[in-house]
Amino acid sequence: MAIRLAVVVALVAVFVLARVAYRRWRAGLHAESRAVPALPDHLVAGAARTWVVFTTPWCASCDTVTSHLSTAEPDSRVVKVDATQHVDLADAFHIRSAPTVLLADSLGTVQRRLVGATAVADYVRIGQ
């Protein structure tokens, strides 16, 4: 019984350490992702607010997200970027899944990053 308990305690300790290490790693990635460059001029085109929707050909919800944003924010520019066609751009902005949506100001500075259709819907519904 004591040996078994020791095995379980060791396993739980591994889980806790793994969780801490993983969270630190994710926090590092997050900090890295915040140091993103400005979006290129051809995407922003001087608009006060530009939503850039990173999609993939197999993304089921990307079209819905794009039309949702266009309807909810008629004064904003909404641009779709196929991450599989613009790999350098997707890498530069640390795109890991689709849809990932970036909101940029007129200078191309990223103001907001939303990952997933639900996050976009919540953002549009609740506002900033």
Partner: protein, 145 residues
């Protein structure tokens, strides 16, 4: 023609993994090998028939999820189902080992999915899911989330 799978709340499989891990570790400490086939069946139901039929997935969906905020992201259901299939295989072989009197082998086989489930529940790193995704990416399988 196969139906396109519906994306799921990823917290459901994580809850299932947490329950599996706690139950198997408790069974190991208390030397209750009967828990192993029970969880083989639990995993099998979720893996074979979908989240609606997994008891703890159903518990999460019907009781816990309504009390939580909506998930930030959704997940393709196939990777966690594959992970459950792998877990089912381990627990089934562990059960056979217990029946054959090889208790040490049985616990080793049962602790593998327990450890992997604990890792997934604690960190979100699901080894079985990654195995499925590794193959899916090479076969250009379309993900639904």
């Amino acid at each position: 023609m196969s139906e396109r799978p519906q994306p799921i709340d990823p917290r459901g499989p994580r809850f299932n993994q947490a329950v599996l891990c706690v139950a198997l570790l408790a069974a190991f400490v208390l030397d209750l090998p009967v828990v192993v086939p029970v969880f083989a069946v639990v995993l099998f139901l979720g893996a074979a028939f979908g989240p609606r039929y997994g008891p703890f997935l159903r518990l999460y969906r019907d009781v816990i999820r309504p009390r939580l905020r909506p998930p930030a992201e959704l997940e393709d259901p196939r990777p966690p189902r594959f992970a459950s299939t792998v877990g089912t295989v381990f627990l089934t072989v562990a059960t056979l080992a217990f029946l054959a009197g090889a208790d040490t082998l049985g616990w080793v086989l049962a602790l593998v999915p327990a450890a992997l489930a604990g890792l997934a529940a604690a960190t979100g790193i699901c080894v079985g899911c990654e195995m499925w995704l590794f193959v899916a990416r090479r076969r250009h399988v379309e993900l639904v989330a």
